[in-house]
Symmetry: C2
Subunit: 319 residues, 2 copies
């Protein structure tokens, strides 16, 4: 059980009210065609329609809004080339404070442009973790800005928990929810919401074989960092966070692995049958469900489609 | 004004209740990024998430459910290679009656497969209107099945009207709604719902320049058939129907034209910013709005995204 001094349902309720003006309540979609293939009834929570195109907007806005008044006006810092960078920039823009985003100099131009478009102040550094951290530290000192970690952060986890909370409130009696696991913020948050708001709904983490540190950590009962990840699911390359691991290790029903071919097939199915654009990481839960049909047979299942930020030309060449 | 003996709000209300078990109440999405570009507040009614991927499911199920008991069990017939064929097949499948679909022998394989997947019984004919009609007529006689016209049919129009009805009920005080016009079923239905359920919401038809028969008919005050259409918006090639024209000619605020380049740009914007897959025909209203920004400045606008059935690989080459 999670230590109730650390997390309680009221915190998630309060976070939800706090961030509501800054996020979309995303729709839940269903597809009879996919249900037929899967042999169960799936409810897709479409965080690809969230602001900035991913659930990360929930955690980033909660973490920023939690800052005390003396700190918040100096702004926030993060290092990321992914959805978290866009989320911090956008949330800071809506709240009216500066966001300093440290990005590797080889980051895709489209991602740099997106961060700038949301008002982020971009600093470039070498493409190493040390360079990212050094550059971030310098900004923290120069600007007295606050660092917002992408996932290993209690306020981020609580923010991400609101996605599953909305899904559980909209679809009663879900028996299982599947979500992808990278750093673990979404999975940890989903576990908390299921514990507090559902009727014994089971939670499954789903992960690419080419970046299986959460699976290894869960099975070996110790936190194992991700080394040299290699998968099409580019949002799930990072190592599981410590706080996240503590929540996940005793609460997740299982972590299911899939390969890149299965991810591509599930992604294509969602694009074609549901008319909705998801990034490869978002296809991992459906791929895992289709690989383990017997486990979910005839169940009422929730899947969190985590995001939809893709380079269309690049991704279509994979289909 | 429309003759109230032909249409009244109760008919649309009844149709809505009748078809509700057979359709999705589709979500309404918004995009701050697109609003910023457009200079107004747009509410997108996502009929691309409708069953069979298009609004046609509404009209087809209403037309079939309206048939009397002695007729319905013999089944229904239509000739189409587009979304109407899929809608008739799917609605008939759900209701449990046969659907005979006449398709040109050169129809895309993916469309033939979709109709068969929904249980449609496909007959092939030469790719001419005469061949389609002769083949359909033979089935009508052999099977005593009922022909379901794709748009020039009162029950179809009333069914399509339920899309705008849901949009108007969900988003109060819309000032304008834009929708594409091909045969005119969606536009005529939208006009009826605006008249009966909105507070003076204006309705605009939007049409590709390469298939501008509705525009020509509206401006010249007489029904002018479409000859040799040429546009990327392959759902809008057909001629405006007679019943539809009678509703549209005095009730539509205007019909706005766009070229294929504008359609492609609007389609790309919706794919990238809204993470939702639409077919080219569905991009026509946003293209028309962006071409006529002054007309909609600061307004609360509705756009009906009519469908999302595209060949992903083919569409990629257009982006």
């Amino acid at each position: 059980m999670i230590n109730s001094e650390i997390f309680d349902p009221q915190e998630i309720n309060k976070a939800h009210e706090r961030i509501r003006p800054y996020i979309h309540q995303t729709p839940v979609l269903t597809s009879q065609a996919i249900d037929k293939i899967a042999g169960c009834s799936i409810h897709f929570k479409c965080e690809n329609f969230q602001k900035i195109g991913a659930f990360k907007m929930r955690g980033a806005s909660n973490a920023i809004l939690q800052l005390d008044k003396t700190k918040i006006s100096a702004g926030v810092v993060t290092h990321s080339s992914g959805n978290h960078a866009q989320a911090v920039a956008k949330a800071a823009q809506l709240i009216g404070i500066p966001a300093y985003i440290v990005m590797p100099e080889n980051a895709p131009k489209v991602k740099i442009a997106a961060v700038k478009d949301y008002g982020g102040i971009v600093s470039f550094c070498e493409a190493t973790l040390v360079a990212r951290e050094t550059t971030s530290q310098k900004i923290i000192e120069d600007k007295t800005a606050t660092f917002i970690h992408p996932y290993d952060n209690k306020d981020i986890i609580i923010g991400q928990a609101t996605a599953a909370k909305e899904l559980i409130e909209e679809v009663p009696q879900l028996e299982s929810i599947l979500c992808p696991v990278g750093g673990g913020g979404l999975l940890a948050g989903t576990i908390l919401s299921a514990q507090f708001f559902s009727n014994n709904c089971k939670i499954y983490g789903t992960e690419p074989k080419g970046a299986d540190d959460a699976y290894q950590s869960f099975k070996q009962r110790k936190l194992i960092p991700q080394i040299s990840p290699n998968t099409i699911a580019d949002g799930l390359l990072t190592s599981l966070g410590k706080i996240n691991y503590e929540i996940i290790k005793d609460q997740v029903s299982d972590i299911l692995l899939v390969n890149d071919r299965e991810i591509k097939e599930a992604m294509r199915l969602i694009w074609e049958r549901m008319k909705t654009i998801i990034e490869p990481s978002s296809a991992v839960p459906l791929a895992a469900l289709l690989r383990n049909k017997a486990l979910f047979k005839d169940q009422k299942v929730g899947i969190i489609l985590s995001g939809g930020n893709v380079d269309l030309k690049k991704i279509l060449s994979l289909l």
